[in-house]
């Protein structure tokens, strides 16, 4: 790895609390919904399902500051 590559390195968030059970469940729901959309890209129901799952996850993540 050369210097140029090192200087471009990005950082994974440190010391953020691990996800709560609710956040994990919401994450699983998003994972499953996105797999459904990946399978059927023009299916409005899959799109709506993913939007709902996204929104739920976003709401659950709000109380926690995303980064310091």
């Amino acid at each position: 790895m050369n210097e140029a590559s090192l200087s471009r390195a990005v950082r994974i968030p440190r010391n953020a609390p691990p996800p709560s059970p609710e956040q994990k469940a919401a994450l699983t729901a998003v994972e499953i919904a996105s797999a459904g959309l990946n399978a059927y890209p023009r299916d409005p129901m899959k799109l709506a399902l993913l939007a709902t799952a996204q929104e739920r996850l976003r709401q659950l993540m709000q109380p926690r500051p995303p980064f310091q």
Binding site: V10, A16, I32
Partner: protein, 385 residues
């Protein structure tokens, strides 16, 4: 129950392809990433008498995180930035949206390869439970990176190609919302925000190690095991399959009576849950993909020598592979449309064989002309310490 076949048949996502300088750049990057990871693994040393939790934390800090941060995540941030900047100003072309999807897929493959390399060394460095945790991370981390933005970009490309303007607008709106919304948000903030939401953080990874350490060898009853597996696949049925109005019948069985289970706790319960979840959800995805089959039988047999035999049998379409053993090769998958990475069965066989002395094999159902597949898995009784 009638089966509702969607108007658009699932299509295999095109394998990510780069061209010209992009391809050369990606090749060099992948090579550099692998070299860096190899050197980080080579320099990691388990200190004698160091508590396992401390070793795991050092492993995450010294090997796992730097490998990702100096590797594929650099490109992840770059594509996130490009998507957000474009969508704030205009609707992309279908080619552009598709290239985002392909780049995201390429990042996922590189991440998966890198984490698999790390996983192969984890057992020797930190022991079986850590290797299992690492397999979990290697399985989920790429999936999280792939989900949301990638399928939405694919959906956007398809909508633009079809001239479906409202669907395209809706996709753009969702992608931008996922990336933190419109406005001049700093690229680093968008990126960190996403990683946080996808649980790609040091704390989440450490939690996987801790859970594996305390859970993978923890004894559980048959009812607990089937309960956990059921919860997992019910999520798949509810959110992916039920909306297609396809119905499945899933039966669990065991040779242990309720009374016997009280005093006859099944060892390696965590491992059984992992194995069954993988096999059952794979079978459901394949049956849903081909709209063939509706019955699934999952059997847990506790033998007198305390070894456990798992059998998952479905009446689905089987596999196109001539030799079903190919399904255990990394990157070979029949469930890609449903987000399968092709790594689940490969990890399962490696973990079972290398760390627990177990076996797993796949066969096509041929007797009585019954279609479908049967997976048979044997887990030896744990050695007493």
């Amino acid at each position: 129950m009638p089966t509702n076949i969607p108007h658009n048949e699932p299509q295999n996502p095109a394998p990510p392809e780069n061209s010209g300088s992009d391809a050369r750049h990606a090749a060099v990057s992948a090579e550099q990433e692998e070299t860096l990871t190899a050197s980080l693994l080579a320099t990691f040393v388990r200190i004698p008498d160091e508590p396992i939790e401390k070793s795991q934390k050092r492993f995450v800090d010294e090997v796992l995180l730097p490998s990702l941060e100096r590797g594929p995540l650099i490109d992840a941030r770059s594509v996130i930035t490009e998507i957000a900047e474009t969508l704030e100003h205009e609707l992309p072309t279908a080619v552009q949206a598709h290239s985002w999807y392909e780049r995201a897929s390429s990042i996922v493959l590189r991440t998966s390869r890198l984490l698999h390399t790390i996983q192969r060394s984890t057992g020797e460095l930190l022991g079986a439970p850590s290797a299992f945790a690492m397999a979990e991370i290697a399985h989920h981390c790429p999936k999280y990176l792939h989900m949301q933005v990638a399928p939405l970009c694919k959906s956007l490309a398809v909508a633009i190609e079809a001239g479906d303007h409202s669907m395209a607008e809706k996709n753009c709106e969702l992608i931008l919302a996922e990336l933190g919304g419109a406005g001049m948000m700093d690229a680093n903030k968008r990126y960190e925000n996403l990683l946080n939401r996808y649980s790609i953080t040091d704390a989440s990874m450490l939690e996987k190690f801790s859970e594996a350490e305390h859970g993978i060898t923890a004894p559980q009853s048959y009812a607990t095991i089937t309960g956990q597996v059921e919860r997992h696949f019910h999520e798949v049925i509810r959110d992916v399959i039920q909306v297609e109005h396809h119905q499945y019948q899933i039966d669990f069985s065991t040779n242990q009576s309720e009374e016997d289970q009280v005093g006859n706790i099944i060892p390696n319960g965590g491992l059984i849950v992992e194995a069954l979840s993988e096999l059952v959800t794979n079978a459901l995805k394949v049956m849903e993909k081909k709209k063939t089959g509706s019955k699934l039988l999952a059997t847990i047999i506790l033998k007198s020598d305390r070894s456990v035999q798992l059998m998952v049998r479905d009446d689905g379409p089987g596999t196109d592979k001539e030799d079903p053993e190919e399904l255990f090769d990394p990157r070979v998958t029949d469930t890609q449309e449903f987000g399968g990475t092709g790594m689940g069965l490969a990890y399962l066989r490696e973990n079972l064989g290398k760390y627990f002395g177990g076996t797993i094999r796949a066969t096509k159902n041929e007797e009585d002309d019954e279609p479908g597949m049967t997976f048979m898995c044997t887990i030896p009784a744990p050695k007493l310490k």
